[in-house]
Symmetry: C2
Subunit: 574 residues, 2 copies
């Protein structure tokens, strides 16, 4: 930690009153009763539940006031923090250690000095310069006023159809919110999958769920231009009311990259966020290559008196050690607390971000931690992978759902590189387990020994994680030779496909050119198979396939088992 002025009661100025900023303010006060703490927030609200906004729009959170976790008054009473909302910090003078503040209520400007400054400005929605994007029916969602505007548009424009651009967290949550309100919804996604933290084949579970719930999902589709077709305005333009006034009726005519046209009553732009760095940049603070504010592991910027946390910063990736930008609430909150600690000499280091994330998509949860396969490929990191599909708890107890689980690991050391899961129950638990195991530096060998809670309503004697570890270790030890779903397109004449499921199961889909011998008949019928070809064993999830595979190799056949079975392949097509 670089040396900073020590002061028994420093003056701390915080820019941004949500997540990281609010955490830092509260922690700083607990550490020191005499420090002067001022928190500037450009918006009207501090410490609101930004992750809850889509759920209020969808109706799950009915009471809007539940989103307002703290008020300036409550912050003052409890933490003696001087919270100034509607106050934009417009510049930082690092030599004088002052900030210039503009009150958005009366445009009054003034300066405020600091001993320590904390930047927690967050990230702002990216709105690309699509022709026609600036219209009164197009919104993004970052804060309470955005949410209020969307709700107002739904009401005043009698919205029957909404379009969401972008299949990330906010896009998916908004899609679900609209569907819950009975609004027909189209989701446009430029890439070939939603939820980029997971790999394409795992996103297939999301795609299936999204389509199953009646959403029109258009992958590989960009929004080219927008035409705003006003019908009636109740806003009085002549009297000077802005066109953005919401008492408006009309629709949007969207032109898509494939030439299609789409009429919609409401458009949400949710293609991503960009770190808010203008203030930091203008103050000459170092900006990283990825466009976030550079921070040391102590959460200090290139100026040791200025800390920065949250969505605006670059931090260290836990797996690769490279810089990364991860706009997530958990890291922001912990970084805020840590920045306050370090202002008071605690000398704590941020331990890197895994990017652990989860999203509810209707009845499905989809989650990940660590690196995904796309990233590992891009970074040239050697990896192996396994898939298992296993009941969330004892399958004989009511309510069990399949957890579809992918684990990425170093094929030599067995070190965990990342994990992904999708399913209707127990997904958060399995990814949390993996997030802890990865952070602790565990290997897939060690995962075999995990001793997790088991009773029929909660788990299985061999949990999803144990089972994935068994498969991974079989591969590492050479007890299993895998073939993966993405290699099934390249089957040669030197290979034959053996499906060991029961004939009835094949009706729901199978590889056209496969032989079917149920696993329990294989011992008797093994001589039907050629010894000079490689036998690709297929079952539903890979478990019976492994039993058959072992029989075959123990009898001198060449074989591979389709890891994760037909189910993995099938959802990859979704």
């Amino acid at each position: 930690m670089e040396k900073t002025t020590t002061n028994s009661a420093p003056k701390i100025v915080i820019i941004g009153g949500v997540a990281g900023g609010a955490s830092a303010a509260a922690r700083a006060r607990r550490l020191n009763e005499d420090a002067e703490i001022i928190m500037f927030e450009r918006g009207e609200f501090v410490s609101f539940a930004n992750c809850g906004l889509p759920y209020h729009i969808g109706g799950d959170i009915q009471d809007r006031s539940k989103l307002l976790l703290q008020t300036p008054e409550s912050f003052l009473a409890r933490f003696n923090v001087d919270v100034r909302v509607m106050s934009e910090v417009i510049s930082i003078d690092r030599s004088k250690k002052t900030v210039t503040v503009r009150s958005m209520l009366d445009d009054h400007q003034y300066t405020e000095s600091y001993d320590f400054l904390l930047l927690s400005p967050g990230a702002s929605p990216v709105v690309p310069p699509i022709p026609g994007v600036d219209n009164p029916l197009t919104h993004s969602l970052r804060n309470i006023p955005d949410m209020d505007r969307i709700l107002q548009t739904i009401q005043t424009n009698n919205v029957k159809h909404a379009t969401v651009v972008g299949g990330g967290f906010i896009g998916l949550e908004m899609m679900e919110a609209f569907q819950q309100r009975g609004i027909k919804t189209t989701l446009l996604e430029l890439s070939d999958q939603v939820m980029t933290p997971v790999d394409r084949e795992m996103a297939g579970f999301a795609h299936a769920e999204i389509r199953d719930k009646g959403i029109e999902l258009r992958l590989d589709t960009a929004l080219s231009s927008i035409e705003y077709v006003p019908e009636t305005h109740t806003a009085n333009l002549e009297s000077g009311e802005s066109v953005r006034h919401q008492h408006i009726h009309g629709h949007l005519s969207l032109s898509l990259s494939n030439g299609d046209q789409l009429n919609t009553d409401l458009l949400i732009m949710a293609i991503g966020v960009r770190p808010e760095t203008t203030l930091a940049r203008n103050a000459g603070l170092e900006i990283g290559e990825l466009g976030g504010i550079y921070t040391s592991p102590h959460m200090q910027t290139s100026d040791p008196c200025i800390y920065a946390v949250g969505d605006a910063i670059e931090e260290v990736d836990f797996v690769t050690g490279e810089q990364t930008v991860v706009p997530l609430a958990g890291p922001a909150n912990r970084q805020g607390r840590m920045a306050a600690n370090n202002m008071f000499g605690h000398n704590e280091s941020y331990q890197g971000t895994q990017g652990t994330a989860i999203c509810k998509i209707f009845d499905l949860a989809i989650a990940s931690t660590g690196k995904n396969e796309k990233q590992l490929k891009r970074d040239g990191i050697d990896y192996e992978k396994v898939y298992v599909h296993t009941a969330s708890h004892a399958s004989y107890y009511p309510g069990a759902e399949i957890v579809s689980f992918k684990m990425l690991f170093d094929p030599k050391s067995g070190k965990i590189l990342g994990a992904q899961a999708a399913g209707k129950d127990g997904v958060d638990k399995r990814i949390d387990i993996m997030a802890v195991a990865q952070r602790a530096g565990m290997t897939v060998e060690q995962l075999q020994h995990l001793e997790l809670t088991y009773a029929p309503p909660f788990g299985s004697a061999k949990d999803v994680i144990n089972q994935a570890a068994f498969v991974a270790n079989n591969i590492i030890k050479g007890d299993a030779t895998p073939i993966h779903f993405d290699e099934m397109a390249n089957i040669t004449d030197e290979q034959i496909l053996l499906d060991v499921r029961n004939p009835a199961e094949l009706k729901n889909g199978h590889f056209a050119n496969s032989i079917n011998i149920p696993v329990d008949e294989l011992r008797q019928r093994m001589d039907e198979l050629p010894k000079d070809k490689e036998i690709i064993v297929i079952c539903q999830v890979g478990l019976r396939g492994n039993v058959a595979y072992r029989q075959l190799v123990n009898r001198g056949y060449k074989a591979r088992n389709l890891i994760g079975g037909y189910r993995t392949w099938a959802f990859a097509q979704q």
Copy 2:
């Protein structure tokens, strides 16, 4: 690993066809197609879901056949394992490497040789020699026939009231099963708490739930004697039918240790289980001090050709390194797999048992991993503890429930010693996280940095575990001076109690001699407090208490914060 005969296709004999035995048989076959594998099971069924038995009695699992996971036929077809049910192994000749088997169908005896023998006999219910215990209305529950007998008694004896002796897993599950069937139920427990894996105060959450659901819970109560009062027998005793024949009407008159009498229609003895070691003992295998079969980390008994797994063995405790007996399904299954691996030269070591366990008690889950406080005290291990009570997911999203969480750790190194949790949602997840963290050797310092899945339906930006870690680290670093609920009985004249909750909250219970200053008024009213006394700060869960505590110590007061707040104290009284 001690040297054992290597043989490319050994003959493997397995005693016991559930959990560990069945896992070993399946794994051995996958490793070797030529091995001869014979599995002897004394009962009628192999590989049944013993953990599911109470849930069939209670009606959650309606279809009895769902409990039968495998049959001898399915085991033969899939794994080519020669399963012999109703076959009791009555002796082992270690010098000849043979076992003597008695067929329970025709009493025929024969010997079978082995290269490797696996003992997986399990544990049997302890039935104490209480006068009158041998009667047709008293049952224990270990297997399918036991379950069938209980169901038959319920039907034939028109059971209106049942009594369960023992508040362990099976006792609690049977209590719930009876309640679900509309049977009035009394639970007798000799000690002052149910669910001994957790500490007394955490069991308070279970006691409250049990009483809330209308169960008569009698703690500190032993069953002294039983009088069987037959009303009518439909069994024909004169024709030689046993008194155990179930077509019976009658009741039991129970005499309790406190002098009370209790009439009941059905009695379940569930006071615990004892490792089945007769066969091992008679064969001269080493038995540990705790009464289980001694095993090495390779799952070998004192005879290297004989392995043993599951409820019958002694294994190493993960935390203390001492021998322990832990009758749980998860370890049994993994040990079985490992024993098979080691028979084929894999040289794997069992990594010790944490005793991770969970029990559903009506709407509540209660779970633990590692050592509890009782054990740490008994073993003279230095520890500190924290309690937090935090929402299972974002409190503004519907369905959040309080997770009441206790963490035990080394006060110097911060090493995790154990964790316990109770609540209606997310309990399994938090204990799984702790089980992984403990197994990985993490400290509470590291727990602060855990990056767990967060979206409002699944978690919080600062999870239960992060929060507990923050409190623990505050204590380790001297930023918090704790007082615990169990010290509240010893308040002296040199201490005063300060309750910082809002006045309305005190109506649901508070310490009679406490001063009430709400936390948000404390700054203004601090001079009402004496500086020469130690101020014990109390709030509902310890969070506001910490805010107040910090204000006080930062202003030069002597203070302690009641960790886990009033809630921890209140449930300890349950």
